[in-house]
């Protein structure tokens, strides 16, 4: 099954809607709750990254027999140094985003910890593509 979500930058009021939809879909399919937890954490962090950093983006989620794949594409500033961005505690989030309790530099590490496969490609000034797989 395939889901496509359009994500609007800076609109925190709908952040989490994609994760919530996918969580419900996985529950309906009786997916192992431990796997659902991992998928939801990774997807939510990906959603927040698009909202917090990009102008807009899309998230495509494929729920397959043996895995869940998430394709996150955003049109934003891009990540200058992906290795640095992956390190715990590093963030370029704005002050207003930090005041909400986001931007602690834990998002990408959270995704990595919960994903079986996590790949990022980014072009400065254009945007970022991420591919996340969690095996069921």
């Amino acid at each position: 099954m395939e889901y496509l979500f359009e994500i609007e930058g800076a609109n925190f009021s709908v952040a989490g809607n994609a994760s919530s939809t996918i969580k419900r879909a996985l529950k309906q399919r009786n997916v192992d709750p431990a796997k659902i937890k991992r998928i939801v954490v990774a997807l939510f962090e990906a959603e927040i990254n698009v909202v917090a950093h990009a102008d807009h983006g899309t998230i495509r989620v494929l729920i397959e027999e043996n895995q869940v794949q998430m394709f996150v594409k955003d049109y934003g500033p891009g990540i200058e140094d992906v290795d640095l961005a992956m390190s715990e505690g590093y963030s370029t989030a704005s002050n207003s985003v930090r005041e909400m309790g986001f931007g602690a530099g834990m998002g990408l590490p959270n995704i990595k910890r919960n994903a079986d496969v996590f790949e990022i490609e980014s072009i400065k000034g254009l945007g970022t593509n991420a591919h996340i797989i969690i095996y069921l």
Partner: protein
Amino acid sequence: MKLSEIIKKLDLVVLNAANEDEDIKSAYASDLLSDVMGNAEAEELWITMQTHKNVAAIASLKDIPAVVLINNGKPDVDMLEHANLENVAVLVTNLACYEFCAKLYNLINCEL
């Protein structure tokens, strides 16, 4: 320990129709949302000073049944609306984080 007992013994103000029969075994105190996403467990109480809508969204995603706002925190209108929708209880204490955590810890652990 039942949420209803925690509410009563720690004088929590209940802002919505809380599911007071929830069994609470532990809690997680943090204002960093990715910390809660990454480290809180289902069925824990979440103690925080954050009062915006994403708090309710994260509580729901993590199966956290109740959020405690410290220092008489006032939730944004859309946080409370979203919490109602997702069946997340929103509770308020006049205590600061340290005092509330200490009291809750004693309450839960004396009971065990």
